[in-house]
């Protein structure tokens, strides 16, 4: 190695390490198929303890019973939220939800747990969406079967 002024570290650009998936939604397929094909939300209910899970899960973690699908209205109440001015990787609702992005925990009617999702605020003004705000689901025009196929808007 030749003497002389110190050289900076050598850097290599890599963007080749992108594994591709044909990802199975498995036991959650009915939920995402209903979202994609019928613009409807389903929740999952334990046949033993009757707890209704949202987001849905295939099995009840308390009873180890296979849950059953139940339809829900898609309306609910915000229990917590924050106005986000930060466009992280997560927001793939481009054209539907921009900044400020209201990231909320929503208690959907007929369910026992809360789902976290984006709410479209009525205006840029902070604070119009808050805990207690009634919301309903809206579906995007183009859906492929992900959580980002829908979002929430204030009711009325």
């Amino acid at each position: 190695m030749s003497a002389g002024k110190p050289q900076p570290p050598l850097e290599l650009a890599y963007s080749d390490w992108k594994p591709a998936y044909l990802y199975s939604l498995g036991e959650l397929s009915p939920f995402f198929r209903e979202v994609r094909d019928n613009r409807r939300l389903l929740a999952s209910k334990c046949p033993r303890c009757a707890k209704v899970w949202m987001p849905p899960r295939g099995d009840c973690p308390d009873c180890y019973e296979e849950n059953e699908w139940v339809p829900i209205s898609g309306e609910g109440t915000v229990v917590s939220c924050s106005y986000c001015y930060f466009k992280g990787h997560g927001i793939d609702l481009v054209g539907y939800l921009d900044l400020p992005y209201v990231y909320a925990l929503i208690h959907l009617d007929g369910t026992d747990t809360y789902i976290s999702h984006g709410v479209k605020p009525p205006s840029q003004k902070m604070g119009e969406v808050r805990s207690g705000t009634r919301v309903k689901v809206e579906f995007k025009d183009h859906r492929r079967g992900t959580l980002g196929d829908f979002y929430f808007v204030p009711l009325g």
Binding site: S82, H89, Y103
Partner: protein, 398 residues
């Protein structure tokens, strides 16, 4: 079970990016420093635990195989631990268990992580690259498609419901934590930032997720540190300043399974703290703990950690920072190194660095930032991204 002590630590300065060293060389650097600190030959080690949180960040799967070779531990047993940003606490628990059980006399814990090599070629930003790379570590079905990032998630699941339930902390109290941690980092030569900020600076910095602003959020960094754990018999031979792990516990309490009882709290920390205190015989943490290193991913989680660790009652955390109780000259200084807010943060390392900071303070080797030690006891807490996985360790001198 045998008593276990930390008998040596090795740390390096935090940097947003350390392009001069690969993760292998960083690991060797901190291991070497730990051996020097303990005045031990490398051959004394019989087991190695690797605290490594994310393979995607390293662009390398199964990194422990490569590290075990690079560090020259041919033939030794090793274990790699991964628990999100609580990895450090889980790794310390795994190393503790190995020594306490008598399976190892001297275990080396190596914490290393690089995140600064992520890059977004479209926006030419490391920060965007980091966010993109990190996204897959969230629940890819139920969070990642809609969640804007970790600080917004912790704000929505933990901080905002906490404020609603208890009426605090206030934005000013949240900002005071940043001011304190920046001040602490200013006195830590290994900190990534050496700046002073005011409450107004913090409140006026860009809003990330109200009430959390940029200056209330952690840094992201490349980092590494190491610790050497020894059985009681070996520890007393090695040093006259052993720092005992008198209590250690982990707890998993899924906060993303959001229910009335889980949001607005860090129940995992509450449960782990209860177990760790019981093991250590701590009954009144607010009186028996001298200092704490807690998970300030956002300043809200630092304040909530005061409460879940029992340093004050629920809803009283904001008062601790406002009254200076958690300041370096207060009753229970917190994040004396500058914390994740101003010293440095990357999953797998910052909690271990916090444990090293407590070791330094309890050995009274903390230089300009040395705090007063009364009971000789400190507590370390770390959480994974959602605050679902938590680890708490009680460290003690004597």
């Amino acid at each position: 079970m045998r008593k276990v002590a930390i008998v040596g630590i090795g740390t390096v300065p935090w940097q947003m990016r350390n392009a001069d060293k690969t993760f292998r060389a960083l690991a060797l650097q901190v291991a070497k420093k730990a051996f020097e600190h303990a005045r031990l030959p490398r051959s004394a080690v019989d087991h190695v635990v690797y605290s490594i949180y994310c393979e995607t960040m390293l662009r390398q799967q199964i990194p422990s195989i490569l590290l075990q070779d690079y560090l020259g531990f041919q033939g030794l047993s090793s274990l790699r631990v991964e628990a999100g940003a609580a990895t450090e606490g889980y790794a310390l628990a795994a190393a503790y268990a190995q020594v306490a059980a008598g399976l190892s006399d001297i275990t080396l814990v190596v914490a290393v992580q690089k995140g600064g090599d992520f890059y977004d070629f479209e926006t030419r930003s490391r920060g965007d690259g980091f966010q993109n790379g990190l996204a897959i570590s969230m629940d890819t079905t139920w969070l990642q498609p809609v969640m804007p990032g970790v600080p917004p998630m912790l704000t929505t699941f933990c901080l905002a419901p906490h404020i609603e339930r208890y009426g605090g902390p206030t934005p000013e109290q949240l900002a005071m934590v940043s001011v304190k941690n920046y001040d602490n980092a200013y006195r830590n030569p290994e900190a990534q930032l050496h700046q002073k900020v005011t409450v107004d600076d913090v409140l006026n910095s860009r809003i990330i997720a109200w009430p959390t602003t940029t200056r209330m959020c952690c840094l992201y960094s490349d980092g590494a540190c190491a610790m050497i754990l020894a059985s009681e018999e070996r520890a007393r031979e090695i040093t006259d300043k052993p720092i005992w792990i008198s209590g250690i516990a982990t707890s998993s309490y899924a906060i993303h399974r959001a229910e009335a009882g889980s949001i607005g709290r860090m129940m995992g920390t509450h449960i782990a703290a209860g177990r760790a205190y019981k093991m250590a015989g701590v009954t009144k943490p607010s009186e028996e703990i001298d200092l704490a290193q807690v998970h300030d991913l956002i300043t809200g989680t630092e304040i909530m950690a005061y409460e879940e660790l029992g340093l004050c009652g629920l809803g009283e955390g904001g008062r601790l920072v406002e009254e200076g109780i958690v300041a370096p000259d207060g009753k229970i200084p917190v994040n004396t190194d500058g914390g994740r807010i101003a010293c440095g943060h990357v999953g797998g390392v910052s909690g271990a660095y916090g444990a090293c900071e407590i070791v330094r303070q309890l050995r009274e080797e903390a230089g300009d930032r040395q705090v007063r030690i009364r009971n000789g006891r400190g507590v370390m807490q770390c959480i994974e991204g959602h605050a679902s996985l938590s680890a708490v360790a009680v460290l003690e001198r004597g």
